[in-house]
């Protein structure tokens, strides 16, 4: 436990120091990279709730990431065009306020996860993987063919949304917002993991029959976890859209689902900081290898293959040992 705690602290501290250093030396691009890593880490932590704690191998988390992104895109595009979102039966205006957008993204992610989860959890194992993948793809194609919000071209938002009292266009201030949210989300993961609900979730993963025997419905437990997971990933989607000031159906694509899963696996499934480490590594690799070769995905693939075949328990497992790896 000790070694993993130290590793976790080191990762979090590193993730804080690098952008601060970049701020001091005036290198905004590094801050933006760090912000990207932090946002992707939030998406990874979201998936880790379903995948790591609940054992639900969801290959459709792009759906929640995407709907969070579009929550931001739709609200902000209506606000920047001064056209109401809905006039009847009640007037709903667009908004440029981040907290409002986050709330909508979280609710949208949760509701979508509830619907997809309720259907997908009727099955298990390989069926579950394929079905979540298929639902993600369904939304991807829907967003492409639905012309109201840019269709295939996506939506551009000209000015980053605002947060009361902060200048979100300043990279370090936006980083601070995202980093704070990451810490909150990690705290949520930790609380879920150690709560009674977390124990039930662990048994739903390991031995659903016993859980049923003590009077807890495993499917319902898993559905709640899947919903929380979708909500967190939705929040990450809204932040990601705000980082790029752009949303497109790519956020819904199956590659996005695969990448979110890669963060979790690279770092270590079910570990608190696994997705954070994975996301940071992914962004660093993308930046470094992307500079070396146009075909950097080959190297990413090779590294990923190496981790899956030879470093079970992820890279944190490699550093901190397998003792605390979940069952």
């Amino acid at each position: 436990m000790q070694r993993e705690t130290w590793t976790n602290l080191a990762i979090l501290l590193g993730l804080l120091i690098v952008p601060l250093w970049a701020w001091v030396t005036d290198e905004p691009f590094t801050i933006t990279l760090a912000t990207r890593a932090v946002i992707l880490a939030i998406a990874g932590v979201g998936l880790n709730i379903a995948l790591g704690l609940g054992g639900l191998v969801s290959l459709g988390h792009a759906a929640f990431f995407g709907i969070g992104g579009y929550a931001m895109g739709v609200l902000a595009s209506h606000a920047q065009a001064y056209s109401p979102l809905l006039e009847w039966p009640i007037l709903i205006e667009g908004t440029k306020s981040m907290p409002m957008i986050w709330l909508v993204a979280i609710i949208a992610g949760a509701l979508l996860a509830l619907a997809i989860g309720a259907l997908s959890l009727r099955t298990t194992g390989a069926y579950f993987i394929m079905i979540t993948l298929a639902f993600g793809q369904m939304l991807y194609f829907f967003m492409i063919s639905w012309p109201a919000y840019g269709g295939e071209d996506g939506l551009s938002i000209y000015v980053r949304n605002g947060f009361p009292g902060l200048n979100t266009l300043d990279p370090i201030q936006f980083f601070a917002i995202c980093f704070t949210l990451l810490v909150l989300v990690l705290w949520l993961f930790w609380q879920v993991n150690r709560s009674a609900f977390g124990l039930a979730l662990g048994s739903a993963r390991q031995n659903p029959d016993r859980l049923r025997a003590v009077g807890i419905h495993p499917d319902r437990t898993l559905l709640v976890a899947f919903t929380i997971s979708g909500a967190v990933t939705g929040l990450a989607g809204a932040l990601f859209a705000d980082l790029n000031r752009f949303v497109s159906p790519t956020m819904f694509s199956w590659q996005t689902s695969g990448e979110i899963m890669v963060f979790v696996i690279l770092g270590g499934v079910g570990r608190l900081m696994g997705p954070v480490f994975g996301a940071v590594l992914f962004v660093v690799l993308e930046h470094v290898l992307g500079g070396v070769s146009e075909f950097w995905h080959i190297y990413l693939g090779a590294i990923l293959l190496g981790v899956v075949l030879f470093a079970r328990g992820g890279l944190i497992g490699l550093i901190a040992g397998r003792a605390v790896a979940h069952g």
């Binding site: 390989a126 995905h297 693939g301």
Partner: protein, 305 residues
């Protein structure tokens, strides 16, 4: 809506379904026999298409191109099975998903590296191009009709292989009880390689056949792969007849949905709105079908209850 157009769309749906079957049959066999979920199946489809396009460009022969697609996909399949997939059989699905996702990255970028980002084109040969006249005044492209025929022949061959031959017996036994057929002296690892190569060859063949209708490009395999997943979820994982029924259902639903939904909405909406609403809903139709099947039969139409 004319009758001729409807028949054409039904044939299109059938052709699409038959292609999906070639993909889904391999996937479902690999899952049924080895318990492996293979995301890289779409890459084999792509490799088949590229091998065919390159061979056709070099030799000008369409038949050689088809043969090359079968051979290339099977060889790559055998190599991948022996180098990577073999280590994944006793791992959980998560590791399999990740490792095969990594394979997709390697294959896609590798192909882009060799062939570049621009799509290649595979010409339909003269003797298969042009329309044929069917009864009731329907005109239909000969090539697409040939695809339907080839697909049905392959399906029949596959059923015969599984039902009638010694390898088929071993495959069915492997699905039922892996340890037992090992104990009975069947070389399991050879059987696995064989099944994987068979699935790979079918996927590569499908890629080559479709490559002549669409363009041959990197990333062409994954959309088809995901549809093949939908097919085997509907049909029941591990069931080849299920894959056939599921594939035809998905092919028809998708094609007819795209054709009929805009017309349906056009009866009470403005034409432009009807087209966009119809197209959006049509793109979701097969997933709605999948959800409906799952609600009624969570293990698929032909899956063991």
């Amino acid at each position: 809506m004319s009758f001729v157009l409807l028949v054409e769309q039904i044939l299109n749906g059938l052709q699409f379904g038959v292609m999906l079957f070639l993909m889904a049959a391999g996937l479902t066999l690999i899952f049924g026999v080895m318990g492996l979920i293979n995301l890289a199946h779409g890459s084999l489809y792509m490799i088949g298409a590229f091998a065919a396009a390159a061979t056709a460009a070099a030799t000008g022969s369409f038949l050689l191109a088809l043969a090359a697609s079968l051979a290339a996909a099977a060889v790559v399949g055998v190599l991948v099975e022996m180098l990577v997939i073999r280590r994944l059989y006793d791992r959980d699905h998560l590791d399999q998903v990740l490792a095969t996702f990594a394979l997709i990255l390697i294959f896609s970028e590798g192909t882009r590296w060799i062939f570049g980002s621009f799509p290649l084109f595979l010409e339909i040969p003269d003797y298969l191009s042009g329309p044929v006249s069917l009864p009731l005044g329907v005109q239909y492209p000969l090539y697409r009709l040939t695809i339907i025929a080839i697909g049905l022949v392959v399906a029949a061959g596959l059923f015969a292989l599984i039902a009638r031959t010694r390898i088929g017996i071993q495959i069915r036994a492997g699905e039922a009880d892996r340890e037992m057929i090992g104990a009975l002296g069947v070389d399991i690892s050879r059987l696995y390689t064989l099944v994987f190569a068979l699935g790979a060859a079918l996927a590569g063949f499908a890629g080559a056949l479709i490559g002549a209708i669409q363009s041959v490009q990197v990333g062409m395999g994954e959309p088809v792969l995901i549809l093949a997943f939908v097919v085997i979820v509907i049909g029941g994982i591990g069931s080849v007849p299920g894959a056939l029924v599921g594939a035809i259902l998905v092919g028809l639903t998708d094609t007819l949905g795209r054709f009929l939904l805009p017309i349906f909405f056009g009866t009470f909406m403005e034409p432009s709105a009807a087209t966009s609403v119809g197209a959006s809903l049509a793109s979701m139709a097969i997933y709605v079908l999948m959800a409906a099947v799952l609600i009624i039969r969570p293990r698929g139409l032909f899956g063991a209850a």
